[in-house]
Assembly symmetry: C2
Homo-oligomer: 470 residues x 2
């Protein structure tokens, strides 16, 4: 092992990263690469080398071959999809996590990793003002770090199926009888998770007229009809901050419908959940008292690199009853004493890295004040962008919520044409979507280097493309 | 953002990691911490700080509070479970991956990340001498990096269910009719994945008498009986290198049974798969021509940190038909051209980090020669340990394959007592299991710092505990 050179090369890599971040901050790099499909493939040899190569050479090659073909999610002109945040604290934590190289599947496989995760999940639950019962300290609930909101909703749905089946699910599976409810506005990860869980197509509950929010009365009616037809409503997935328009389902009313019927309520707050760090952005917490599980992607809007989704459950035994399994080679006295948490039973994978160090570093390095400031900063940039758009003829702000601004041109043809022009522009990345059947552009503010000057630059780029249309 | 201090703190962290690795290599640290449950929880404040703290202080605290409560998987005395490997190249790659902070859900969300992954999966397929059709370059198959073997078998099972249902599965789920087959020796992640996929309890096929290997004739009989009973055999999971005894199911015969019946064959080679880097350890590749999917944990035995499992499929459309889903906000011209790979459709999560950089760094830094040398080194240590055990009265080697030595004392009472003594010993970690109803100890060689001297130290520790028994 080349330990000797590691420290020097790692220091070099850190310097390069700082230079890279500065180049991004200064918008000296394009957001989107220009190479056609196959560019990177062609640049890489067809076979792995037989002999080892120097780390310094591989590092060079990273900047020569790979970096120019990346979409720079941390670029100030990156407004695509939802952000995947980052910060030096998060990067440092990944270095340390990798270097320590422990595996935290069970308490006994690394006690400190497990307890750190319990603690930071409690920290975050408190910082987000989530119900107390989601905390490990409550004794009944707790948080666990997943790789993604998709994996979080998958295990939540699976726990719901198990609970709804009164014990049959483990042996017999879904039997074509269980139903999971969401809406057409729910992120695609939810119908995907429902399929993966063997429950078929998720039921799309109608929206409240004129909104992108689930209609609780329609939900209740649909559940009752399904029950009458011999089906078993197992779970509802409500969203706080949908992907297309950052809409929020009426969780208090949905929760009441679920509670009356004993149905699991999972709340997907992948993006908007982080905003609850700020007291003024806590509307999305309404009704969480009814929720069985709740997930937020710290990697979307909390200066924490991907992957880092936190899933909280109100009753952890519902989760561990469903996905817990301990083979003979995993048995150990600590687990059997039932005084410790074994996170393997809270997730799909068996093995897992020390997942919590990153969130610990980020929460400490930024402090809650720093994380709130970041949210407020991004929200203020969205306000600025929305104002600029509204002040312009021939543009319309369709929706503006938190860090998201959804807008379009005066005609759909012009919107589509603008999408195409922007797709080819390397200095700004906005991603298209469809709202109420019409094409829109989404601008999600949250890339850590985006500032007022960047918003003005972005807007003048968009305007100049629009001006060229007519 | 504290970019200014980042480079300095990262350099410091790298130095500390090197010092940590040296301390591990010199066995100056215990493998297992001694603190009771709650030790780390108690050492951490109950609330996150309001104000940001210095990265240097957080780094200090990591070594003060967290490191002493970890199980050191990279310690030369760590022989527990299966290894989770590591190397400086892997750690460096994690630093760079985190620092670049891109999200590779689709080709268009980071072309270089996707194409690098295609390339390194092909590199590895070739280095392991896997069938050509598993390569992206074949046009039909391809590899994808998953977090774990559990997630790999989950998506493989889901693809199998979809294929077996001839289109019904997406809409109707598993309907209680599909069967997935494995054995009692299969890793717990497999029955767990089958449950999560909504297919209920995996069917445990009997073993060939006197072995820990699946009986292909019993498999065929069971499948045919199930089919006669109106059930649909969807998938078989065969193992190359089981967790307890590193047994290998007869894949050629199982493959023939599957092929005759059009049933998906997934081969789980989480641990032993890496050994196929060496031509002399390629027995496990026999019959892979019949396999629909194959997975190996690079993070177990390929000097690559967790998480890094590679899943190959022979027909990638089987996977993407099952778990592919593209909402309006994910549509893009490259995906629609069908000339690119979108890895979101090959896995459970939507978002994903740049997963391939780590494997690229490791394969280049070590070279295939270096990776083979590491495998041979670990296998030779297992040979040494097995010899030492066999030469000792009152001990028995139950199984010795590749890097795994399974052993016991002359009576079960003594084995159980030895397990207990070793659990309390901080300098060696062997994990217990049950083989044919009798307690055993497993010693898995593969921690990167274990060498001959370490094996002698480990053995003399075990011997001295045994000597104290009588
Ligand atoms: C509301 C919402 N839920 C879930 C997801 C899926 O997140 P992940 O990529 O972590 O699976 C997204 C992704 O953008 C999202 O916006
Ligand atoms: C044979 C085998 N398969 C699967 C797994 C599960 O691997 P993972 O932790 O990556 O899910 C293991 C873990 O040790 C294993 O030994």
């Amino acid at each position: 092992m080349n330990d000797e050179v590691f420290a020097a090369v790692a220091a070099d890599a850190a310097e390069r990263l700082v230079a890279h971040w500065r180049a991004l901050a200064a918008a000296e790099l394009p957001v989107v690469p220009s190479g056609p499909p196959g560019t990177t493939l062609k640049a890489l040899p067809e076979q792995a080398p037989e002999k080892g190569e120097d780390l310094a050479e591989i590092l060079d090659d990273t900047w020569r071959t790979i970096v120019p073909q990346l979409v720079h999610w941390q670029h100030p002109g990156f407004l695509g999809w939802f952000p995947t945040n980052n910060s030096p604290a998060s990067v440092l934590a990944e270095l340390v996590t990798a270097g320590l190289g422990v595996q935290g599947m069970m308490w006994s496989s690394s006690p400190g990793a497990t307890e750190l995760e319990q603690r930071v999940c409690d920290w975050l639950a408190r910082a987000l003002a989530l119900p107390q019962r989601f905390q490990h300290a409550s004794g009944q609930g707790g948080g666990v770090i997943q790789d993604s909101a998709s994996s979080a909703v998958l295990v939540a749905v699976v726990a719901a199926l198990n609970r709804a089946s009164v014990g049959r699910w483990r042996a017999h599976g879904t039997e074509g009888r269980y139903r999971v409810y969401c809406t057409a506005q729910t992120n695609s990860s939810v119908p995907k998770a429902v399929r993966i869980a063997g429950a078929g197509e998720a039921v799309q509950v109608p929206l409240l007229p004129g909104t992108h929010e689930m209609d609780p009365a329609a939900l209740a009616a649909r559940m009752d009809a399904d029950r009458s037809a011999g089906l078993i409503p197992a779970a509802v997935v409500a969203t706080v901050g949908t992907t297309t328009t950052c809409a929020t389902d009426p969780v208090p009313e949905i929760g009441a419908v679920c509670q009356e019927r004993g149905v699991w309520l999972h709340v997907d707050a992948a993006y908007a959940g982080s905003a609850a760090l700020c007291p003024e952005f806590r509307d999305g917490n309404a009704g969480l008292g009814h929720a069985d599980s709740y997930a937020v992607n710290a990697h979307k809007w909390m200066r924490t690199g991907i992957p880092c989704d936190v899933l909280w459950v109100a009753d952890h035994t519902a989760l561990t009853d469903a996905v817990g399994l301990t083979a003979s080679y995993l048995r150990n006295p600590a687990s059997e004493s039932r005084t410790v948490v074994d996170f393997k039973d809270w997730q799909v994978p068996l093995g897992r890295p020390m997942r919590a160090l990153k969130l610990w570093y980020v929460m400490r390095a930024h402090g809650l004040e720093g994380l709130r400031e970041a949210i407020r900063h991004d929200v203020s940039l969205a306000v600025l962008l929305a104002r600029l758009i509204e002040a312009e003829g021939g543009f319309e702000v369709v929706v503006h919520r938190l860090g998201l601004v959804v807008f379009r041109r005066d005609t759909d043809a012009r919107t589509r044409d603008l999408v195409e022009r922007l797709t080819r522009d390397p200095v700004v990345l906005c991603t298209p979507a469809t709202v109420d059947g019409r094409p829109v552009l989404r601008a999600a503010l949250g890339s850590p280097y985006t500032d007022e000057a960047a918003v003005h630059r972005i807007w003048s780029t968009i305007r100049s493309h629009a001006a060229a249309q007519d």
